[in-house]
């Protein structure tokens, strides 16, 4: 059985894939919780991940993918992970990354466009690529050539670390690990066309296909993709006659339920998707599929920032026909006490875990509060 865990972090992303064979893959890391605010209901991501690793007797992730270098996809990383490029990010409590996955932009993007911690991640990615190990860059290879040459490296010497759109990520297969990763983005037509770099459109979008006892479960990890990028992806996918590469049982929705992932207009009550997105959402979903919005609770008012209630209404209305479920991470299982969303994957495809924890289990999973006679009263 494989498990997909999506953490409630507000408008931020972190998703852990636990493969049946024990491998652990983290997609984004955003420890957004404010420890000083007792009303902050976001999960303590570092604590959750550490507890899980400890239970597995491990101190590393096999893969950590940063889908793109926006704060809500990496914040806190420089305090949690052991980074190889500088001694100050090394220490015995830090969590190791066996292989780091980044889109091409994370390598060559202008440092001045990045937040401070983004520059740390970029430095690490560049360091690993220079060293030639522990990294996979998603890009059209030629796009990286100039940067590599500037470092005194040849493209040929780093080709094995680069995966282009339309390919499967090496090192994972349905027969061995029970999962393969198909890369949709970054893709060439976007990156080759111009002088500016839009970080979201260059983000890493993958379809993970799990196979258990001959049955496939397809999970789309959509980063922060906008509707115009979807239109491109759908065009390319249809051109190659690979519609199954956009089928899905679980969809990690882009950009915290933003309307811009559906279409250009927010709409008054409900966002209308562009044709490409409508095709993905209404024709490519499988029976009983799950939509996951990694976001704050859906507001009742109109808002500027995501999540947008109009987009949520589209997703929600659309789930019914094939018995699907729309889950908002900060509403699961309830707004007052969100918990990590756990989706198990086996020969019966995806199942959202909905189990009450027995008190005896819950109470023995946390440190007990202070007991004893205490300080003497004066």
């Amino acid at each position: 059985m494989h498990t997909v865990t999506v953490f409630p972090l507000g408008n931020a992303d972190c998703c852990r894939l636990d493969l049946a064979g024990g491998q652990k893959i983290l997609v984004d890391y955003a420890n957004t919780r404010n420890a000083d605010d007792p009303s902050d209901r976001r999960v303590d991501l570092e604590k959750e991940l550490r507890a899980d690793l400890k239970a597995a007797k491990r101190d590393s992730f096999d893969v950590v993918a940063f889908t793109h270098l926006d704060t809500d996809h990496f914040c806190g990383s420089s305090e949690f992970f052991e980074l190889r490029h500088a001694a100050k990010y090394q220490g015995k409590d830090r969590i190791k990354i066996t292989e780091m996955w980044v889109p091409a932009a994370a390598i060559y993007e202008d440092r001045s466009d990045l937040a401070e911690e983004g520059r740390v991640i970029q430095a690490e990615a560049r360091h690993r690529l220079k060293q030639g190990e522990g990294i996979r860059v998603f890009s059209r290879p030629a796009k990286l050539e100039a940067w590599l040459n500037a470092q005194g490296l040849t493209l040929q010497s780093r080709m094995h670390l680069i995966t282009d759109a339309g390919q499967l990520v090496p090192g994972f297969s349905r027969s061995e690990q029970g999962v393969e990763f198909f890369v949709h983005s970054p893709f060439a037509s976007r990156q080759d066309d111009g002088t500016f770099v839009d970080r979201n459109t260059c983000s890493l979008v993958m379809q993970a296909v799990f196979e258990v006892l001959g049955r496939e479960t397809k999970v789309i990890l959509a980063a922060d993709t906008t509707h115009d990028v979807w239109t491109e992806i759908v065009r390319i996918t249809k051109f190659h006659k690979r519609p199954e590469r956009l089928e899905w049982d679980v969809f990690k929705l882009p950009h915290h339920c933003s309307y811009l992932s559906l279409g250009p207009e927010k709409g008054k009550e409900k966002t209308q998707p562009v044709d490409a997105v409508r095709w993905i959402m209404e024709e490519q979903d499988q029976l009983g599929a799950t939509l996951v919005s990694t976001s704050d609770p859906i507001p009742t008012e109109d808002t500027d920032l995501p999540p947008h209630r109009q987009a949520a209404k589209y997703y929600r209305d659309n789930r019914g026909a094939r018995g699907g479920t729309f889950v908002v991470t900060m509403e699961h299982p309830k707004v007052s006490a969100p918990e990590p969303l756990v989706i198990t994957i086996d020969h019966r495809k995806a199942t959202i875990r909905k189990r009450a924890t027995a008190a005896s289990v819950a109470v023995t999973s946390v440190v007990a509060p202070r007991a004893g006679a205490g300080r003497r009263r004066s």
Partner: protein, 748 residues
């Protein structure tokens, strides 16, 4: 979306007005949102109960075995007296007919059977959270088709659901998918009544069941196959049943009418009661294969009343009169039917499954010896569906045997193998797995041919006769290529011994027996293994005569171990000697494995000398230690005069007063007699003096010297007194031994 829903029972009521404390607690907690994945719908109240209606979010996979929806609405029924398990009704109209529903399973709304425990047990742990967890677990596992866990009984007999009927296993399986309309005559084999609840046992009738006056008009009717879809409701009369079956094209009224006309007409036969089994083959789609059979059982009226209700005949003041033509409008609506819950007898397959095995083991086993150990090993195996058995024993089950025999008192006076076979075959339905041969293996008399045929065809020959002659016979004389395995207890019954031949029978039972004696002689853990029970009269010499006083539990312990080994034994190709020792003080059981050694059978004249690599190793080692001098010693072993075999097993090494030189060896006597006596005692007299050995130094031939021939002659003159030959072995450079035999002079 879910629904439509049926109405929950009772009238709408506020939470505060509920009288059931459990119901109120559940409603309050759910309404407050303190229980995850459930939401409050309403509370209701009825005359003697409160009802809490909830929406439960279920953990269902995308691919489901049963159509459980992501949200299910349930009504929980709490009786005011809290005397019964709160009942859970699934309110969705088309909630599927799954396993673990309370009867009647076709009812709407369906009643979920959440608890296998008695309510007294459940009540001890009941909290609202506990209940919700159990409910969610039921829905989750049912959606996955995993609620019927592998380790649960095949059929769950619900306590207190009314009358029951036990049916032959053959009626539980689809059989040929095209047997719609098939009528099978049944025979009521027994009926047991307790506190107005009855249990009826039914067999398939053999031949024509109508010759004698029967008490029961009992038959099984198979309907046409049905596709998916709910079943309306339980038929209450033959008329209801007919209507239900007619929808599938079956005419049960016609069948019953025809059979009633054939039924004898004397008063006693007309008083017979109707027992009707209806089998409904089910398939997943309207055209697919039949996957299972739903079985209904009904008790109906008497034959006389059934005939009247079906328009076959009429009763009146003048008595009984056939109706010609039949009153076709009478279609059984006046013939009431009472449902019985159905339990099937199990097959060997199910017995294997319940024993944690994948399938029955149908290897042919000839089991020899049906005493205390044998009978218990055999019945253990029978319960696990291990083996197709031919049981061989000549004895009857006598009263004193009952203290430790697997068969209970009902078998007293019968032959042990017959009652064992009867008991074994009675466990499961289907082809009998046990047959019996009443015979002494050593002298089978008229059964010789059958016995030899069975031995010849066996996959395994299992010797539990606790008799050395039987083991030797099986090893040397009996036909059949199957490996032999012996199980027996030591005299005090504390140890179980297993001797198992290899698949090619290169190391046979007799040779294994000898190697076992050597271990008894040498291994400190077996020091007391062949000790005689305290105070026992020694009337025989067999070390397999077990004490007459021995706890049954100890035999059961060893029988369980032997039965566990059986399937393993049949698979394994290597020979084995294993001894399980049960500690009297702590009840620990320790297994000792003795590695069997390769055996040499060497013909010398008209005798065969049998020894193994263990002996050769010992002698070679002793020779080597004394080089360049010669050395030697006494050989221990056993004679089988009947088969002219000498077994050489071990040696008593050179006594201290022996003369060991480079050119000669003179075996001394110091301590020899004591050591010989000790060896005999420790092995229960099984090992004795069989001859002498000595070594030749390197560079000397292995052939006997002139001196050696003198010793041989000396040996033969001594052994002649006992009528057995003496063995002389010479160890020279290399691993082989030269074996000479001092022939019995009298035969010259």
């Amino acid at each position: 979306m879910s629904g439509p829903y049926v109405n929950a029972p009772g009238e709408a009521a506020t939470i505060d007005s509920l009288r059931s404390a459990k119901g109120r607690d559940l409603a309050e907690r759910v309404a407050r949102g303190s229980l995850p994945y459930v939401s409050f719908v309403e509370t209701r109240t009825a005359v003697d109960a409160d009802v809490v209606v909830l929406d439960v979010e279920t953990e269902v996979p995308q691919v489901r075995e049963h159509d459980i929806r992501p949200v299910e609405r349930v009504a929980v029924w709490f009786d005011h007296l809290d005397a019964r398990t709160p009942e859970v009704l699934a309110l969705r109209e088309d909630f599927p007919a799954t396993a673990h529903l309370n009867p009647p399973v076709e009812a709407i709304p369906k009643s979920l059977c959440l608890f296998e425990e008695e309510y007294a047990e459940v009540r001890r742990r009941w909290t609202s959270a506990f209940f919700i967890r159990r409910l969610q677990e039921w829905l989750r596992l049912t959606a996955r088709g995993e609620l019927h866990a592998d380790d649960q009984p095949l059929e769950q007999v619900l306590a207190g659901t009314g009358d029951q009927v036990i049916l032959p296993h053959a009626l539980s399986v689809p059989g040929s998918a095209t047997d719609a309309g098939q009528v099978v005559r049944l025979r009521v084999a027994g009926i047991d009544e307790h506190r107005a609840r009855c249990l009826i046992q039914v067999d398939l009738a053999s031949g024509d069941g109508t010759s004698r006056t029967p008490d029961w008009f009992s038959l099984s009717f198979t309907s046409s196959p049905r596709g998916p879809g709910p079943i309306a409701s339980t038929p209450r009369t033959i008329g209801d049943l007919h209507t239900f079956l007619a929808a599938g094209g079956d005419d049960v009224v016609d069948v019953l009418r025809r059979l009633l006309l054939e039924w004898p007409r004397e008063a006693a036969a007309l008083a017979a009661r109707l027992l009707l089994i209806v089998r409904i083959p089910k398939r997943r789609s309207d055209t697919g294969d039949v996957e299972r059979v739903e079985t209904w059982a009904f008790l109906g009226p008497s034959v006389l009343d059934a005939g009247v209700a079906l328009g076959v005949w009429e009763t009146g003041p003048r008595g009984f009169a056939l109706m010609v033509p039949m009153a076709d409008e009478r279609r059984g609506h006046d013939a009431p039917l009472t449902g019985l819950s159905v339990v099937f007898r199990i097959s060997r397959h199910e017995a294997a499954f319940l024993n944690g095995r994948e399938r029955p083991d149908d290897r042919r086993i000839v089991g020899i010896g049906a005493g205390a150990l044998g009978s218990q090993v055999i019945l253990n195996a029978a319960r696990a569906a291990v083996g197709q058995w031919t049981l061989v024993d000549r004895d009857r089950l006598l009263p004193h045997n009952l203290a430790r025999h697997a068969v209970a008192g009902f078998g007293t006076g019968h032959h042990k193998v017959n009652v064992l076979a009867f008991a074994g075959n009675g466990l499961t339905d289907g082809q009998p797995a046990f047959e019996s041969i009443i015979a002494d293996v050593l002298n089978p008399g008229p059964e010789r041919e059958r016995l030899e045929e069975r031995l010849g065809n066996a996959d395994l020959i299992l010797d539990m006769a606790a008799s050395i002659p039987v083991s030797r016979h099986l090893a040397q004389d009996a036909p059949g290529a199957a490996k032999r395995v012996s199980f027996f207890l030591n005299p005090v019954g504390s140890d179980l011994v297993m001797l198992a031949e290899d698949g090619r029978r290169e190391i046979r039972l007799d040779a294994l027996e000898m190697q076992y004696y050597r271990a008894v002689l040498r291994d400190a853990r077996l020091r007391d293994h062949l000790r005689a029970p305290d105070g026992r009269m020694r009337y025989g010499t067999s070390c397999r005569d077990v004490s007459a006083r021995l706890p049954q539990a100890q035999v059961a312990l060893h029988a369980a171990i032997a039965a566990r080994r059986l399937p393993v034994l049949a698979d394994q190709d290597d020979a084995a000697i294993r001894i399980w020792q049960a500690s009297e003080r702590t009840d620990d059981v320790v297994a000792l494995d003795l590695a069997p050694r390769r055996v040499t059978r060497q013909a010398v004249g008209d005798w065969t000398v049998v020894y193994d690599d263990g002996l050769v190793e010992t002698i070679v080692g002793l020779r080597h230690a004394r080089l360049p001098n010669e050395t030697g010693g006494v050989l221990l072993g056993a004679f089988d005069v009947e088969r002219r075999i000498v077994y050489v097993v071990d040696t008593i090494s050179s006594p201290l007063d022996s003369q060991e030189r480079t050119t000669l060896y003179i075996r001394g006597v110091e301590g020899l007699h004591e050591r010989l006596k000790d060896a005999q005692k420790r092995t229960f007299g099984q090992l004795e003096y069989v001859g002498e050995w000595h070594s030749h130094p390197d560079g000397c031939p292995c052939m006997p010297s002139r001196d050696d021939l003198t010793v041989l002659s000396w040996l033969s003159s001594h052994m002649d007194a006992d009528g057995v030959p003496g063995v002389m072995m010479i160890a020279c450079r290399g691993a082989a031994l030269t074996v000479l035999l001092a022939e019995v002079l009298a035969h010259r």
